[in-house]
Amino acid sequence: MRIIAGEEINALLNTYPRNAMYTLAVMQDMQRQFGYVPREGLDALSGHLERPLSELYAIATFYKALSLTPRGKHIIKVCDGTVCHIRAGTNVLDGIYRALGIGPGEMTDDGEFSLELVNCLGACALAPVMVVDGTYYGKIAPESLHEVFDAIRAEGVID
């Protein structure tokens, strides 16, 4: 896990005025820059905005886009919506477990991939669906997952 320096956090905070309206924007920046919202970040933000830590924690735990634990470089979202569920979306999860050794909510040891379970990605015709870094993969054959992840690993971060 990457150590996040206080200066990095301060630099980020200083790009925003001390106004409660920027709370969420700062957290989103942290999420983007560090891959999660670190505890040191929330502490510093609490001081910066003079808002109780508890209030910030409530926000950070409310939004699914924010995570309090590190997330991998690549985010895999597997659909468990109704259609994908019926079309054996769970087989995709098994396939990912075989390929990467992680389950929902977990991250690979090398910090490359995180896995999240989501509800309907809006592409039911392609069920079962998975999205990696914003790219949709439909009608997934669990055996092919190895190759998909190897290719993504080789390409690096897609933003």
């Binding site: 929330l42 830590l53 508890s54 209030e55 924690y57 409310f62």
Partner: protein, 266 residues
């Protein structure tokens, strides 16, 4: 302005909340998430009542007969009394058939989500709540109805040690990272405002434990009653420059009376 609640005429100011008016008139309306010092939660809906407005204007019966939806037509609607400001003269029913049915369902649902709460069980007995498979208790030890009064009290007092955490069915009230909060002064206000007895406070000798934090208690130098926690008085002295109290409110009053009696020689 006059509102009629269960047949009783009560005078009030425009904009006053119905629940406050009823309470003043001695009419009991069930409530949980209402606290006079922390208005506006409006989330338990237990204070459901039926309000009839626009009756005074219907003498000629125009609205009713033409079938038009003019706002002159009397309307009976279900509202939450604690957040319903009275804007016009109206007739209120706190125990009509419809209110009883709605309130019963609400109580049964609240009981199912907070089965261990004595307070809710008591309300069910007092106001009546249906039984049935729909209201079956899922797990046995919950007391919290997530009304948020505790967090609001803590925040209003300037501490902000607790808040709602998470979302959906996993939502709960807690301290950041579920750890003892550094800022918690152990005043116990959260537990005092909680309508369902969900927050545990344990006192043992000179210590109080709340939200996994243990604090030292201070006592009245005369009668030994608890006057708060040392950290609470310390924070108050830092923020407001107050002295830690030596006496409890009762003894302070007595001391004052004694001084007066001596001064005036009675």
């Amino acid at each position: 302005m006059i509102v009629t609640i269960d047949g009783k005429e009560v005078s009030c100011e425009r904009g006053e909340y119905l629940l406050d008016i009823a309470t003043r008139a001695g009419i009991r309306i069930a409530s949980l998430c209402h606290h006079e010092g922390l208005q506006g939660q409006g989330c338990c809906r237990l204070c459901t009542v039926e309000v009839e407005t626009g009756r005074g204007d219907t003498g000629r019966g125009e609205g009713a007969q033409s079938g038009s939806f003019s706002d002159k037509k009397p309307r009976r609607e279900i509202v939450a009394a604690c957040i319903y400001p009275v804007e016009a003269e109206c007739v209120v029913y706190t125990d009509s058939e419809r209110v009883r049915r709605n309130r019963g369902i609400l109580l049964a649902l609240l009981r199912a989500s907070a089965p261990a709460s004595e307070e809710i069980a008591e309300l069910c007995r007092e106001f009546g709540a249906p039984d049935g498979a729909r209201y079956e208790v899922q797990s046995g030890d919950g007391k919290c109805i997530l009304c948020g009064l505790c967090a609001k009290a803590c925040q209003t007092l300037g501490t902000g040690a607790i808040s709602s955490v998470g979302r959906g069915t996993a939502k709960k009230i807690s301290t950041p990272y579920d750890e003892p909060a550094t800022v918690c002064v152990g005043c116990g206000s959260c537990a005092a405002v909680c309508p369902t007895g969900a927050i545990e406070v344990a006192e043992d000798g000179d210590e109080r434990t709340i939200w996994n934090k243990t604090l030292t208690l201070t006592r009245c130098s005369r009668c030994g009653a608890v006057t708060g926690t040392a950290f609470e008085h310390y924070r108050a002295s830092v923020h407001a420059g107050t002295e830690p109290p030596d006496l409890c409110p009762d003894c302070r009053r007595k001391a004052m009376t004694d001084t007066m009696a001596k001064t005036f020689g009675v």
